[in-house]
Symmetry: C2
Subunit: 330 residues, 2 copies
Amino acid sequence: RCFHFCKLPGRVMGIRLLRFTSVVIIVLLLVAGALTALLPTIKDDKLPNSRREPKTQSQSALDSFTLIMQTYNRTDLLLKLLNHYQAIPRLHKVIVVWNNIGEKTPEEMWNSLGPHPVPVVFKVQTVNRMRNRLQNFPDLETKAVLMMDDDTLVSAHDLTFAFSVWQQFPEHIVGFVPRKHISTPSGVYSYGSFELQNPGLGNGDQYSMVLIGAAFFHSGYLEDFQRQPEAVYALIDETQNCDDIAMNFLVAKHTGKPSGVFVKPVDIRNLEKDTNSGYSGMWHRAEHLLQRSYCVNKLVNIYDGMPLKYSNIMISQFGFPNYANHKNKM
Amino acid sequence: RCFHFCKLPGRVMGIRLLRFTSVVIIVLLLVAGALTALLPTIKDDKLPNSRREPKTQSQSALDSFTLIMQTYNRTDLLLKLLNHYQAIPRLHKVIVVWNNIGEKTPEEMWNSLGPHPVPVVFKVQTVNRMRNRLQNFPDLETKAVLMMDDDTLVSAHDLTFAFSVWQQFPEHIVGFVPRKHISTPSGVYSYGSFELQNPGLGNGDQYSMVLIGAAFFHSGYLEDFQRQPEAVYALIDETQNCDDIAMNFLVAKHTGKPSGVFVKPVDIRNLEKDTNSGYSGMWHRAEHLLQRSYCVNKLVNIYDGMPLKYSNIMISQFGFPNYANHKNKM
């Protein structure tokens, strides 16, 4: 199944990728034809996203995802999380973006503790940059990327469900952490979360961004990211922050719709307190939030406009953990 | 002192016209300059679906909906509900399908208690049929229909939000009551709700229908419904039931996707206990659920296949009633 995102050839896919895609499509059609003969009489009870396939290297590029996890100064957390994430259903491969410059990766230890369910690739970096994780890694074989911060633990149930949601909204950032911007009469934007006023006229709140530190998005956006104005890279490097805000701007500009779809996590945990390194993450810096407001305004200048759009859609998994999550008086 | 231009007598009228034109241009420039200063600085913060427009007959056909409410033997509930529903934002018109054969409608009383926010049309029926509400009423001017049972009270907040969701999923039945079918090894289907086993291989539950007694759907489906096999009408008339199951079959066949999108209601109430009529609704009949399983199997025969598809997407309104609905440990 190809979604409308695929119809933008010049932007996302080179000719080689187009050829590869054509071959994949032909193979899929042949397989589909063969399967039709084997189908049981009840043909249409397709249960999207719930069939557990054997984890092999040949998993369809559309039906599996690549985990990209950047890490700095928290190798103990990284390894703990890898043990968890390596076993998530439909995971194809893990790419670890190694920002510990000059330090050996744990690859040897990793291999000695094999075999592992999926391949894990350690990408050694030369400079410790926040935007290292947004490279268009040649190791990427899947359409979907799952990006996780190296201190964030999301349950397998949440990830499996969110991946199935991404498959229904492949042009969006589908993730667990919503944020918003608000505009002010002066025209200056501010960045924040629930504590900021509701930007709408109706009731409830709205979000205009989904952070990529715990989200699925289309790998094509990594390719797109390589083609942004230099000023964007300069901004991210200057602040060592805001790569996620920049990605939301990119996606919103591309789709003309809200960049993200928020999936309410049942079990998401921040493990930063558990690290031995004493390093507790960039968001504890005093200037972190002010920087992000600064970034929003800079990006509006760079892109000559505010592309972010609001949404108030919150998605949960029906009947999970149990029926109580949708029971009502009727 | 006169300049060389004045020496040309034929140009006297020209001078006056020139002066007048200059004055007009200067005035226009001043007005344009003033308007520029008044323009809002933030142009692109469109908030889809949350701007409240004045309710007029000229409301865009895309931005308002028609309430269709069928009623039988519960006029007291009908009138109570009409007082509530007539004031829902974005409502264009109400169509009351009057199944009280031979009985006068409350139109006179309704008019004497005017004015009302929107027009209400009473459609007198000749036969008391469940499927009367699925006619392609010429009074329908909007793309969206809100169909409500005459004993169901859904809050304005829920309806406003669900309408905005329908606008994002216009080919689906967007509503508050999810149901499912399950298949059995014998090939016979069964109809039910949470009490039935989860049809999927993953965790949580799935639904394959959204009941139209509390839902938004595209008015085009009413047109489609007129073109179904005779056997469908016979089935609905025979059981005085299952019109909603038939609609879900229709929509699923049309889209090839799950027919419905479930929006979790914050405040939905069944008022049937409140009626003076003593009439408590069809679903209390002993055979009601068995009939619905029967209908599922009959419809599979009629349509030569099972078009219903499963979904586990549950949509809620972000930050409503308050932040607690998406707060987490992070």
